[in-house]
């Protein structure tokens, strides 16, 4: 096997949450609020439910092929040529999400913190740091994530402090925007929660692969819940009309906290969490990209690919998306529906039809 490390379920859950949330907490509220207004929380409940379906789909597919990642078992299901093509599509997806995160990362830092520094500086540094973690393997990535989790406590504190600015009446009137708007608002968080797809690269390296269902469900539920709290925060503080005009309502929600003329300017806190979270998020997709490529090419070691993969990710994050990040955000979910939902579903159907993979005990019950 390419990866010798093993991670336990708790580590996997934490890693999955850190993979979904860092960009989601900043970007999702604005998009969801734009469509669903004060009913954004309903959108998020809907999104979480769909996310759970995706999680179930990905895990049931993966568990049919124990010890194999999605890159490896697509070949088993679809045959060599078609399998390679689909495998490549997944590698591309990981690369694309990864470089998209790099782009968001750089863009946020430039707009929120250091407008005079070229974006490429942030992207390069983020990729170099993630490369260091990726090179050292999945175990190190998970441990670094665990090390970072306590820092997010600061974010919780910032949230609690911001409750002083909240007005519950901003939630009214409930269910006013209509089902379509709520569904539209759910698309973007579904895309983010659907990133649980990356678990398909990690399941073989769990100490107990059987717990993968639990891992996926808990990760999606927790992420959806945090995302909902987070959207509510912006909503309750600014109201739907103000919040959806900003790119980063969460950031602003923390900025306006001011208690006793002492506890203020907490944006440094969110910056810190965001930067560290960004490293991890980039790291996970970077890892999936590198590991997937190595498996796709049938290499014995993925380490030689770390450097070229980083270059590809960095370059594409800079050139692929152009300047207009907002446009990218609104397109992104529709790009992701294919690899996150459609292909896994097709793969599962083909696998069932061909009788490929072992029948898991869970299916019988």
């Amino acid at each position: 096997m390419l990866e010798h490390g093993k991670i336990d379920s708790k580590q996997a859950i934490l890693l999955m949450i850190s993979m979904i949330l860092p960009t989601a907490i900043l970007i999702v509220p604005a998009i969801t609020l734009k469509y669903a207004k004060q009913d954004a929380w309903l959108s998020l409940i809907l999104a979480t439910l769909v996310g759970l379906l995706i999680a179930w789909l990905v895990v049931s597919l993966s568990l049919r092929f124990p010890g194999k990642t999605i890159i490896e078992y697509t070949e088993e299901i679809l045959g060599r040529v078609l399998g390679k093509i689909v495998g490549f599509l997944y590698i591309y997806t990981f690369m694309r999400i990864g470089s998209g995160v790099c782009r968001e990362f750089g863009f946020f830092l430039v707009t929120a913190m250091m407008p005079e520094t070229p974006m490429i500086v942030f992207i390069i540094i983020a990729i170099v740091i993630s490369a260091y973690a990726v090179r050292n393997g999945l175990e190190v990535l998970c441990r670094f994530n665990q090390l970072f989790i306590p820092v997010t406590g600061l974010l919780v504190i910032a949230f609690l402090l911001s409750t002083t600015n909240m007005k519950l009446t901003r939630l009214l009137p409930v269910f006013d925007t209509g089902l379509l708007s709520i569904a539209q608002g759910a698309v973007s968080p579904i895309a983010w929660l659907g990133e649980i797809l990356t678990l398909a690269m990690i399941i073989p390296y769990l100490t107990k692969p059987k717990e993968a269902y639990r891992v996926a469900v808990i990760s999606v539920l927790l992420s959806g819940f945090i995302l909902m709290i987070n959207t509510m925060e912006s909503l309750l503080i600014f109201g739907p009309d103000l919040a959806n005009h900003w790119l980063y309502p969460t950031y602003n929600a923390v900025r306006v906290v001011s208690i006793a003329n002492f506890l203020e300017r907490l944006d440094a806190v969110i910056l810190m969490v965001w930067i560290l979270g960004g490293f991890i998020k980039i790291g996970v997709f970077y890892y999936a990209f590198v590991l997937g490529s190595a498996q796709w090419m049938g290499l014995k070691d993925y380490r030689p690919l770390v450097l070229p993969a980083g270059l590809i990710m960095g370059a594409s994050s800079y050139f692929l998306f152009g300047i207009n990040i907002v446009e990218y955000y609104s397109h992104l979910p529709y790009h992701l529906i294919l690899p996150e939902v459609v292909i896994p579903l097709l793969l599962l159907i083909v696998a069932l039809a061909k009788g490929k993979g072992k029948k898991s005990e869970d299916e019988a019950t």
Binding site: M113, Y132, Q146, L147
Partner: protein, 546 residues
């Protein structure tokens, strides 16, 4: 012939070459400078003169070795010779218990009876010597080593065996209070330079037959005694084997301090962080052993290594376990804070002043800006200037003789505190930051604070270039690096990462003794329980009922 006076081989220090040396026919590992003789082990002959000549030829020009020839009291014909190194033996014992006993005194039970040459050795061994510990050897190599280690060797004419008397005694520092690890409460004894005294200090704390003290000798020239100590039944046997194999791999001319060994056996030689801890306190080492660690004692130094080492150890002081737990926990948190300050405060200061003014309250910002008005340099230069000055002063304070050290601290205080600010070289706030960082660095264990002091400069540069982003990137790199580290197979950051719930009782806080049920799980693998359940003290039942 004699392994320990072998000349240093070319390429001995390089691992690859030395491992394969035995296979190479060209390299004669046993060749010596003094004699190009055969590589067979030399043994004594029955002839005293020959033996003496042989020993003298090996120990020629060693003016500290004393040869004393005399005649046996029981048999005028029998010649004896004592050989020892002056200064390493207890003179009173050698003269009274060996010389006097053999040359003058006649044992009561055999008055006037002659002891034949053939029986002499046995007689001397059984009844002639009043030395508590004697050995016998016929190997020249052993004998030479014994002489140089401080034993007194007795050669008997007509016998090819020498009697080695342990009558060691040399000038030695007595057991004093620990200097590097002082405490308010706790034992006030520290290790000394003598290995035997040190093992005794540990044995006095742990009187268990399971406390094993394995001996080893390292250093081709110095032939330094090493002891590997562990508690059988608690320690992980694989760990002991690993420690031994790493130690046996060492081929070096000399070992003068445990630091030599530390660098030769550590897991990550390039890391900034120490992956092997040391201590000069017997109670601390005993506590390490009780947690399943292995201690490595080196003759000639009071600093004892203990492996595996965890990162949290550097935040734990021995005293934490003696004070009440609430206070100890608070102090631990304080140390953790000090660690973060040591690493990040100057970087944070630079980042905020150079990039993120908005993070400071306006009043504070104005006052700092006013201070910086007269300063001609950017903040990074200013902080660097002060940090380097501070490091120089600290080094001067350590190296200088004690009386002058005070003068340095006065000059330092004046230079740092007063003159630099007055002259407009640095802002007063910079002085506060540098001084605060310096004091914080004194709080944590010296070897960790040394690595943090170095890394602090890295963080400072990153902050100067990229502000908070640089600072956090630097911390992330350090964090990832810490996650990759292992010490003898145990993840360096455990039990924090990967998290081991039951062991969190002894990390950033120190739980009360009645709640610390388990030894570190990843260190003591088989035998984890160290405490009975239900030891929490409670009032007697009669009271409780009311």
């Amino acid at each position: 012939m004699l392994k320990f006076i072998k000349p240093r081989r070319a390429g001995m220090m390089s691992r690859g070459k030395s491992q394969s040396r035995d296979e190479r026919p060209t390299n004669k590992p046993d060749q010596t400078v003094t004699s190009g003789g055969s590589s067979k082990k030399q043994v004594l002959t029955p002839d005293l003169e020959t033996n003496l000549r042989e020993i003298k030829s090996i120990l020629n020009n060693c003016s500290d070795v004393v040869y004393r020839e005399f005649v046996f009291a029981q048999n005028e014909q029998l010649k004896l010779a004592l050989i020892y190194t002056d200064g390493l033996v207890d003179n009173a014992q050698v003269s009274d218990q060996i010389m006097r006993a053999l040359a003058l005194e006649v044992p009561m039970s055999v008055p006037g009876q002659q002891i034949t040459k053939a029986r002499a050795l046995e007689f001397i061994r059984e009844r002639g010597l009043c030395i508590h510990q004697i050995n016998e050897s016929a190997q020249l190599e052993d004998i030479i080593r014994s002489i140089l280690s401080g034993d007194t060797v007795l050669l008997v004419d007509g016998h090819a065996t020498a009697i080695i008397n342990k009558a060691r005694g040399w000038e030695m520092r007595s057991i004093t209070e620990p200097e590097a690890e002082t405490t308010v409460r706790g034992p006030r004894e520290a290790f000394v330079e003598s290995l035997r005294v040190n093992t005794a200090l540990i044995r006095r704390k742990i009187k268990s037959p399971n406390l094993k003290v394995e001996a080893l000798r390292l250093g081709e020239v110095t032939d330094t005694d090493i002891a590997i100590i562990y508690i059988k039944g608690i320690v992980n046997e694989k760990l002991v084997a690993e420690v031994k194999s790493r130690l046996e791999r060492i081929e070096i001319d000399g070992i003068l301090e445990s630091g030599y060994i530390e660098e030769l056996i550590e897991d990550s030689p390039w890391s900034f962080f120490p992956t092997i801890n040391h201590s000069e306190r017997p109670d601390r080492v005993a506590a390490m052993l009780l947690e399943g660690r292995v201690a490595i004692l080196v003759d000639g130094t009071p600093f004892v290594l203990s492996v595996p080492t965890l990162f949290v150890e550097f935040l734990q002081a021995t005293e934490d376990y003696y004070h009440r737990f609430l206070f100890s926990s608070a102090i631990r948190l304080l140390r953790f804070l000090a660690m973060i300050i040591t690493l990040t405060l100057p970087g944070l200061y630079i980042a905020v002043l150079a990039f993120h003014h908005e993070l400071l309250p306006t009043a504070l910002l104005l006052s700092i800006a006013a201070q910086h008005e007269s300063v001609p340099y950017p903040v990074i230069i200013e902080v660097l200037l002060m940090e380097v000055t501070f490091e120089i002063l600290r080094e001067a304070g350590i190296r200088l003789p004690r009386p002058i050290g005070q003068a340095v601290s006065i000059v330092g205080a004046l230079v740092i505190g007063e003159a630099a600010v007055r002259a407009g070289l640095v802002a007063a706030a910079t002085v506060i930051v540098v001084a605060g960082t310096g004091i914080a660095s004194f709080v944590i264990a010296y070897n960790l604070s040394a690595s943090l002091r170095l890394l602090r400069f890295l963080i400072m540069f990153l902050s100067a270039f990229l502000g908070l982003f640089g600072l956090i990137s630097g911390l992330a790199v350090i964090g990832i690096h810490l996650c990759t580290l292992r010490s003898f197979g145990v993840p360096y950051l455990s039990p924090l990462v990967p998290i081991t719930g039951v062991n969190l009782t002894d990390t950033l806080i120190r739980a009360p003794w009645w709640a610390m049920f388990y030894r570190p799980r990843l260190i003591a693998r088989q035998n984890q329980k160290r405490l009975a359940q239900g030891l929490k003290p409670s009032p007697p039942p009669s009271r409780r009922k009311g």
